[in-house]
Amino acid sequence: MKQYEDHVQMEFRLNGETVFVRFDVDETLLHVVRNRIGLKGQKGSCLNGDCGACTMLLDGVPVKSCLMLALDVEGRDVTTIEGLKDTPVQQAFIEKQGFQCGYCTAGFIMNAQAMLETHPEADEAITNNWLASNICRCTGYEGITEAIKRAKELIADEMGK
């Protein structure tokens, strides 16, 4: 039986690179990525699973990293905003100013990235269903909505090439 006590050491892949990290057994994935590894892109806000600012991809699936033990990602693939490199979603958020203060942006982008990988032509219902998991406290939803539309166009262009 696997057993973990007090301080643990664990290996997982973060943004394509294998990392080996030590942390306390009760630390969340968000805490370990931000405070042990030092990638500050994903934010902690409500720490209650409500706001989505902490959204990371676990094996390509969005999760609320504030509600997950870091131990849950042992041997698995985690992606944060630092792992995205000039994707259509990022480009679209810049073009359409899909942010105001920017605090929620990384969470929105990670969720949108997963959504458009799963549904490149996501309609309004799918988009609402997925992105209702994230909250923009500046209420900048119009820019975010425009950014998603633009991201779909960019992806369609890429696929057409």
Binding site: Q3, V25, G49, P62, L71, S133
Partner: protein, 247 residues
């Protein structure tokens, strides 16, 4: 918490529970536990991660492992309709059906389709697997003794006529003022409600008599809405007709 165990077999779990006989904390998706832990509502120093036990994530035509995330439950259609409103989509990627049914929150919406489909539940108890009707174990909440663990749900997943609606105070992502599920089955009409009272309520009815069904349920007044408002919502849903009537 300073210890986490990951038993790989039920034999290991049986041995482990001998050391923690009172109220072991079973961890899976973590969505409710981690929120409570942050608020220091959880006292257990040792947690038992149940995800790697065999069968816990099984998903087949007639079996749903307790650790299956809600987003993976898309058939029958009523499962999807009820499940897609629990928490939000990202949370549902790791919010499990067992966690929802056994959770401390009063809504436990995922239990409604299970009850409507007359599901059975297998519970790991003192080294044995006990399979019985979910209805026999569910009275306001799933009745579990310390150390008992929900293992799997079993059901016939064929489609049945149903009606479903969900009311919240404002946004879609919110706890329900009332979740309504009405299903026509061989046994009769099932009506289940979440958010209407302080616990999920349901009943089976031979005939679709609105007053009889309405009087079966007790509405609650809380900071989300009054009992009168909830009663009005239930009247509206019942007036839409039986689930097997043409829409």
């Amino acid at each position: 918490m300073n210890k986490l165990y990951r038993p790989q077999t039920f034999e290991e779990l049986t041995e482990l529970l001998k050391d923690y006989p009172d109220k072991p904390l079973f961890y899976s998706g973590g969505t409710e536990i981690m929120a409570d832990y942050r608020l220091r509502k959880i006292k257990q120093a040792a947690w038992i991660d149940i995800k790697q036990l065999p069968g816990m994530i099984e998903l087949s035509d007639d079996t749903i492992g307790a650790c299956v995330p809600l987003n993976e439950l898309i058939s029958p259609r009523m499962f999807y309709d009820v499940g897609q409103f629990v928490a939000d989509r990202t949370v549902r990627n790791h919010l499990t059906i067992g966690g929802n049914v056994c959770g401390k929150l009063p809504f436990r919406e995922a239990v409604l389709p299970l009850l409507a489909m007359e599901a059975e539940v297998t519970i790991f108890s003192e080294g044995e697997m006990i399979r019985q009707r979910l209805e026999d174990r569910f009275d306001k909440f799933l009745r579990l003794e310390p150390g008992e663990l929900v293992y799997q749900f079993h059901l016939d997943r064929s489609e049945r006529p149903y009606r479903h609606n969900r009311y919240t105070t404002s946004s879609v992502v919110d706890y329900p003022l009332m979740t309504y599920l009405a299903v026509k089955a061989d046994r009769g009409y099932f009506v289940g409600l979440s958010g209407y009272g302080s616990v999920p309520q349901y009943g089976w009815f031979d005939e679709w008599k609105q007053d009889d069904i309405f009087n079966h349920f007790q509405a609650v007044t809380n900071d989300r809405g009054s009992s009168a408002y909830r009663e009005k919502l239930l009247r509206i849903e019942l007036a839409k007709g039986a689930p097997d009537e043409a829409v």
